[in-house]
């Protein structure tokens, strides 16, 4: 029996087990939206208030569930509004399938109404994309899209469907894709490299594990823990690797990089062997590369061969999925106790605790600090919390101080640093994990970039808890202005609306906390509330994130406070 291309789009998504389509209708995608009414009981569409909201929601959903996030938009402006999210998903390896409508194929290239070359525009920021001009191609293209998005190093895929292909008839047969000749998602593992790596590890006195999101993407948290525990090696994480190992694990030394911990940065230049697991030596992690870990031998476990030797030359590279390679390595490494080496981290931790952490977490100054809000959230939430952040100072405080014990419980825009990511991503995360307590930590700048998504939260009745840390500044930029631009606060002060009234207009309950005595009560009230809630906390204006590896400095030059003038 013949069906239309639009029906095929939805049936294909259903075949792939899609629960939600985050999207926004428009001219060139209307046939698919019309067909949706027929499949409402099998697939749910969520109407966001902007296409950027749709894609960030799909990202939040994908990050919390580990499944492919699906979003949909019309041609032209609808499609271009997805681009920021696509770029974000590309750099953070988030599996997404984005479906966009396109003008009818006879109109392609004629500057038709709402025509944009979205395949061209999205090419540098998609793992794969494809323009469908014939209805028969739809099942094949969607099957391929899901396979590419979710396998190997995951990433976003875009399928652009011409309007006539949405109308046209086809015989529908769906076959999931499991092989593409030119695409090898899982490389063959070189066993020699594994034994060579094990030998290096067994010989080293001061080995150091740097771990990233590869573990989370490979669902290899258990395998990683087994490796850490047998080898006894201290481990530190990149911002996206954070949930790969329990924050409280005795061998979890903390965060790497620009606003990471003191010990983890300094000892990078003191260890003798680095075991980099599913991470890519981002510049925010390495600081000045010329002075980064030159004394250490590098072992790199990585699924994407283009990442090997891209930034830091590996002495031994284990190319493969860490889910497979970690157990092989664990088997060959000797059981060790590196307690003297671990103690070096702990000594430096004491300095950081005294000079930074205690002052931030238990401040004596009048104004509320971001870190103390997070401390209270840690105290009042349970294991089932998922933290989502936006981008800026609050993101760094959240990364540093949020306690995380469960898998996929911290969602943030890492590589791209997309302001406005937080609110829609938190909404998407709540849709993906309704049983969890999703807490968004967001600044006043970032919230206003996608604040219209409060409407989506209202309509979907998603119980997202929004903690707005309001310092009336674009805090991270202001911090840099203070430190590196002689405190000239150019265009970083913000006059803000009454956020509580705004939330109220969207039917969202809220409360503003102005001083410390009301903070704990406010957090408790927010968590006790069954629906969405906005807790606005007035934050000390000149609160800065430290430690810091200033741009151009070596990781060993991490500073704990601003330089004395």
């Amino acid at each position: 029996m013949k069906i239309t291309g639009s029906q095929a789009v939805l049936l294909s998504l259903i075949e792939e087990g899609t629960e939600f389509i985050f999207g926004y209708p428009g001219g060139a995608i209307m046939p698919v939206y019309d067909a949706m009414m027929q499949y409402q009981d099998q697939i749910k569409h969520i109407l966001t208030r902007h296409e950027q909201g749709a894609i960030h929601a799909a990202q939040g959903y994908a990050r919390v569930t580990g499944r492919v996030g699906v979003c949909m938009a019309t041609s032209g402006p609808g499609a271009t509004n997805l681009i920021t999210g696509i770029a974000d998903a590309m750099i953070d390896s988030t599996p997404l399938v984005c479906i966009t409508g396109q003008v009818g194929s006879p109109l392609l290239g004629t500057d038709a109404f709402q025509e944009t070359d979205v395949v061209g525009i999205s090419m540098p920021v998609t793992k794969w994309n494809y323009l469908v001009t014939k209805s028969e191609e739809i099942p094949w293209a969607i099957a391929k899209a899901f396979y590419i998005a979710s396998t190997g190093r995951p990433g976003p895929v875009l399928i652009d469907i011409a309007k006539d292909a949405q109308f046209g008839p086809l015989d529908f047969h769906y076959k999931k894709c499991s092989y593409i000749r030119s695409y090898v998602p899982k490389p063959t593992i070189n066993e020699e490299a594994v034994s060579e790596a094990a030998k290096l590890i067994n010989e080293s006195k001061k080995p150091y594990i740097l771990f990233g999101q590869g573990i989370v993407l490979g669902n290899a948290e258990e395998e990683f823990k087994a490796f850490v525990e047998k080898s006894g090696i201290p481990a530190a994480w990149t911002i996206l690797g954070v949930t790969a190992l329990d924050t409280n694990h005795p061998l979890n030394m903390g965060m790497l990089g620009m606003h990471g911990n003191y010990s983890t940065n300094i000892l990078t230049n003191d260890c003798d062997t680095i075991i980099a697991v599913g991470m890519r030596f981002d510049d925010r992690v390495t600081g000045d590369l010329k002075r980064y870990a030159n004394q250490a031998r590098i072992i790199h476990l990585e699924i994407d061969s283009a990442e090997i030797n891209k930034i830091k030359k590996a002495d031994v590279a284990i190319h493969g999925d860490v889910k497979d390679t970690l157990p092989m390595l664990t088997k060959l490494v000797e059981k060790r106790d590196h307690s003297a080496w671990v103690a070096k981290f702990r000594e430096l931790d004491k300095i950081e605790k005294e000079k930074v952490i205690d002052l931030e977490m238990y401040p004596t100054k009048e104004g509320i600090t971001m870190a103390e809000v997070i401390r209270i959230l840690n105290e009042k939430t349970k294991d089932n919390v998922v933290y989502v952040t936006d981008v800026g100072q609050h993101q760094m405080f959240a990364s540093r101080y949020c306690k995380r014990q469960s898998r996929r419980s911290f969602i943030t825009s890492g590589g791209l640093g997309t302001m406005g990511f937080g609110l829609p991503a938190a909404f998407g995360a709540k849709m993906g994990a309704p049983e969890k307590e999703v807490v968004l930590i967001v600044g006043d700048g970032g919230l206003q970039m996608t604040i219209q998504e409060l409407g989506t939260i209202m309509q979907s009745e998603a119980a997202v808890k929004i903690v707005l840390l309001n310092n009336k500044y674009l805090g991270m930029v202001r911090q840099w202005q203070q430190l590196f631009f002689d405190s000239r606060y150019s265009q970083t002060y913000m006059m803000n609306p009454d956020f509580i009234k705004l939330a109220e207009a969207f039917g969202i309950k809220g409360k503003k906390i102005l001083d410390r005595p009301n903070l704990v009560g406010g957090v408790e009230e927010m968590l006790a509330h069954s629906g969405a809630y906005l807790l606005e906390v007035s934050i000390e204006k000149e609160d800065n994130v430290f430690p810091m590896v200033p741009t151009g400095a070596s990781v060993a030059e991490v500073i704990l406070e601003p330089a004395k003038k």
């Binding site: 090419m123 793992k127 794969w128 092989y179 593409i180 000749r181 061969s305 283009a306 090997i308």
Partner: protein, 188 residues
């Protein structure tokens, strides 16, 4: 230290792939010296031949990025010693000026060039060779006034007995066979 490298990439013949490949160069601010696309010895598989003057390190990274593209089967790079390569050049010269010259024959002979077309107004000369050789002829012909000159991108074959891709495809076929058997087994 920069050197001339020839990158060869084998791919499925898909719309837009050329764009995906060139983006990799653009993004890293690497200049493409020449680029040629044609069908390879294996039916349905396109071969990109791209010449760049870069450091080996940079070339290696670019090749890995090309290799990573979904539709690219495999990408390689070679210094000049590893390949046999050729370019073709066409020169359009006024016939009158050529006729007035005494040494046209020796130029053609010496440079192994040939004449493709002679018209009252112009003559088209063709030469194949390495870039320096076609350039040398260009400079000699300038005295006659070259009206048009065009040089193709480099084409190249490796000095190995078999196409590197053939070995790679053999491995792939074995893998696919295994995969198909596995799928077959699980479905039973």
């Amino acid at each position: 230290m920069t050197n001339t490298y020839t990158i060869t990439a084998f791919s499925e013949n898909h719309i837009g792939l050329l764009n995906r490949i060139t983006i990799i160069f653009t993004r890293r601010n690497v200049n493409i010296h020449s680029l040629t696309v044609s069908e390879s010895a294996i039916r349905g598989i396109s071969k990109f031949t791209i010449v760049v003057i870069e450091t080996q390190e940079k070339v290696e990274k670019v090749v890995k990025q090309i290799d990573k593209l979904v539709e690219v089967l495999k990408a390689f790079y070679h210094p000049n010693e590893e390949i046999v390569y050729q370019e073709i050049a066409l020169y359009k010269v006024p016939t009158e000026a050529l006729l007035a010259s005494n040494n046209l024959e020796s130029i053609i002979r010496k440079h192994n060039a040939r004449i493709l077309e002679v018209m009252p107004e112009y003559t088209v000369i063709e030469k194949t060779g390495h870039c320096e050789e076609t350039q040398e002829l260009f400079e000699i012909l300038t005295e006659f006034g070259v009206r048009q000159f065009t040089r193709s991108g480099r084409v190249a074959v490796t000095r190995l007995s078999e196409e590197l891709l053939t070995n790679y495809l053999k491995e792939l076929d074995e893998k696919e066979l295994q995969l198909v058997t596995q799928l077959h087994e699980t479905s039973q």
